[in-house]
């Protein structure tokens, strides 16, 4: 029974790899199929890391597929296409989050020294965000990433390490500091 399953898995793996290959070679129908199969999960992953209302989510998802199609030759079949895409999505989303975090450093600093509230992020202007998202937006990109992937999405440290190339002990430290920061922000919200 296990053999049958392994063979079936192999066939799936080959089918996935062939789909990626044909898409990368310009088969538009395969590009569309690849997108339809993987976009919901990748969108969810990117939206978790950036925030569901972040206007860059769609751009990042598109970049993930373009990078995968451009770099299809680097897919070596040691993981599934899905896992490989997940890795690209995670790293791209983290890059985008870091870029935004850097851009907003002055407003955070102004807020920290009591010169007024930080300028609202564009996504806040689009509507009311959940308190959860508001708290997450105050975590650093690295803290947020490990918190949402571990505590929310249920990935293990080993899986996150595989997706991000970040060491497990580093991830562990970041998760601890993320949780502490959340506690602190929740207290501030209660008092404020």
């Amino acid at each position: 029974m296990q053999n049958v399953r392994t063979i079936a898995n192999n066939a799936e793996l080959l089918e996935e790899a062939e789909l990626l290959s044909r898409a990368a070679n310009g088969d538009e129908a395969c590009v569309r199929r690849l997108f339809r199969v993987h976009s919901p999960k990748l969108h969810r992953q990117v939206a978790r890391i950036l925030g569901a209302a972040d206007p860059d989510v769609e751009d990042v998802v598109q970049q993930v597929f373009l990078a995968a199609l451009d770099g299809a030759s680097r897919f070596d079949g040691r993981s599934t296409v899905s896992t490989w895409l997940f890795g690209i999505a995670t790293r791209r989303a983290l890059d985008a989050a870091r870029s935004r975090w850097r851009r907003q450093r002055w407003s955070r600093m102004a807020e920290a020294v009591g010169m007024g509230a930080a300028a609202p992020a564009p996504d806040r202007n689009l509507g009311a965000l959940a308190d959860a998202d508001a708290i997450l937006s105050r975590l650093s990109p690295e803290q947020r990433l490990v918190f949402v992937l571990h505590d929310v999405e249920g990935h293990t440290f080993a899986e996150i390490a595989g997706l991000t190339d970040i060491g497990i002990s580093t991830l562990h430290g970041r998760l601890t500091s993320a949780r502490k920061r959340i506690q602190q922000l929740a207290k501030e919200a209660d008092h404020g």
Partner: protein, 442 residues
């Protein structure tokens, strides 16, 4: 197993209620990709991929998981035959569809500040390099060498041994190109205004804040082709040329003026509509749902968005324009999106969307630019500003996506809505150019 144990030892209950509540709340409300957004993203991806051309990859067969020892021979044979099938199909695809030559062995860059290497690495297609205020970047691409001046931004569109294509988004670029096989190896530099094709030479390209492009040749010959309708020109040693953005198209200035006038008069119906009676409703194209910016009446009635008071709309626009001139596209778009989503006057929101679209165009995100023009047209139906956005969308399709059908459709929609509009003559000319014969006879 170890991971399971690890996970259970980190149960949220052990590390505080706030984090646990937060995680629980987030688990209950996972991000959801609705069908319309998915369709829009799929269209955008396919258009972008099509515009970039089919990729040139040859992919190794995936390594199948190792089957259990008892049946390994059978499973191995099956996997091998399947792998052979994949390899064969890859070979066949490569043979019939490969569109470019072999890739360069290595394309490398070095970021230097005050003569010291600060960062180095390999380049990949689609990658963008940006030199800051103090550094410049040297790139080695086989037979060519590129020097990216400080405060410049370059995107590497194609990196194959015989065909190197780069886009100079802003700033200056010095190029030394000495092919081993002259005539077979090509390098081209694209800017918003022109495309510079090289056959073996040294030259520099500079793009100013407005998008005008200056090309100077220090060795050999280059061919400069303005992007708009304009005459191709061969430049020799010591010669230089300045190509204004969209130069060569006599209608451009009129178009720009009309668009600006349209923005100024956005609150009032266009003269054409006044004569024609009620404005026609906009017909959103398939796949556009207008959901990115939900400009309902209820939303318009809301208070001004925090951080964007009415009095500061012009300041925000001006600040965003300044950031765009400095090449800070992403940050500028953030500000403009907030403004476009606020209950600001239609004129301001359309202008914000127009600037976002222009920024996307400058950076090569053409499908996103098209979506943004559609949104601009969507929020100002019956107004000149909305019509102008429609015209801009048509022009984008004509010049960038090269989607003739979409361009024709958008020009026709423009004319249906603004038959006497300021851009109507240009729209008719464009339709004639796109072989819609009935428009050539007027």
């Amino acid at each position: 197993m170890a991971d399971e144990a690890n996970r259970s030892s980190e149960h949220p209950a052990l590390h505080g209620d706030a984090a646990e509540r937060l995680a629980g709340e987030l688990r209950r409300t996972p991000p959801w990709l609705d069908e319309m957004s998915r369709a829009r993203m799929e269209r955008s991806l396919v258009e972008t991929w099509r515009a970039r051309g089919a990729a040139k990859v040859s992919m190794p067969a995936p390594r199948a998981a190792r089957p259990p020892a008892a049946r390994w021979l059978f499973a191995g044979a099956l996997a091998a035959s399947a792998a052979a099938g994949v390899l064969f199909s890859l070979w066949a695809l490569d043979d019939s569809r490969s569109v470019s030559g072999p890739r360069l062995p290595v394309a490398q860059f070095e970021l230097l500040v005050d003569g010291m290497t600060l960062q180095s690495g390999n380049l990949a297609e689609g990658q963008t390099l940006e030199a800051g205020k103090r550094g410049h970047i040297e790139v080695s691409l086989g037979a060519s060498r590129l020097d990216i001046a400080r405060e410049s931004r370059v995107r590497f569109e194609r990196l194959s041994a015989d065909d190197v294509r780069v886009s100079l988004v802003s700033g200056s670029l010095d190029v030394a190109f000495h092919p081993e096989r002259p005539g077979e190896q090509h390098l081209s530099v694209s800017t918003r205004a022109a495309q510079v094709q090289v056959v073996g030479t040294r030259f520099s390209v500079h793009v100013d804040g407005r998008g005008d492009t200056r090309v100077e040749v220090s060795e050999g010959v280059v061919r400069v082709q303005p992007r708009a309708v304009g005459q191709e020109r061969l430049l020799r040693v010591g010669e230089s040329v300045l190509v204004p953005v969209d130069a060569g198209d006599e209608s451009e200035q009129a178009v720009r003026e009309a668009m600006e006038a349209g923005l100024a008069a956005a609150a009032a119906p266009a003269p054409g509509e006044a004569a024609a009676g009620e404005p026609l409703p906009l017909e959103p194209e398939t796949g556009f749902d207008g959901l990115d910016m939900d400009f309902t009446e209820a939303e318009v009635a809301e208070e001004s968005a925090p951080g964007v008071p009415r009095a500061s709309h012009e300041n925000v626009l001006e600040a965003a324009r300044r950031m765009l001139r400095q090449g800070k596209h992403s940050a500028a778009r953030d500000r403009l999106r907030a403004l476009a989503a606020s209950p600001a006057p239609v004129r301001v929101r359309v202008e914000a969307l127009t600037l976002i679209a222009e920024s996307y165009t400058a950076q090569g995100y053409i499908p996103r630019a098209a979506d943004t023009y559609r949104q601009a047209a969507y929020i100002a139906p019956g107004h000149a500003a909305g019509h102008n956005a429609l015209f801009a969308l048509a022009r984008l399709h004509e010049r960038y996506t090269l989607d003739r059908q979409a361009a024709v459709s958008a020009y026709q929609r423009y004319l249906r809505q603004a038959s006497q509009g300021a851009l109507a003559p240009q729209a008719r000319d464009a339709l004639c150019r796109l072989e819609q014969i009935e428009f050539c006879q007027r």
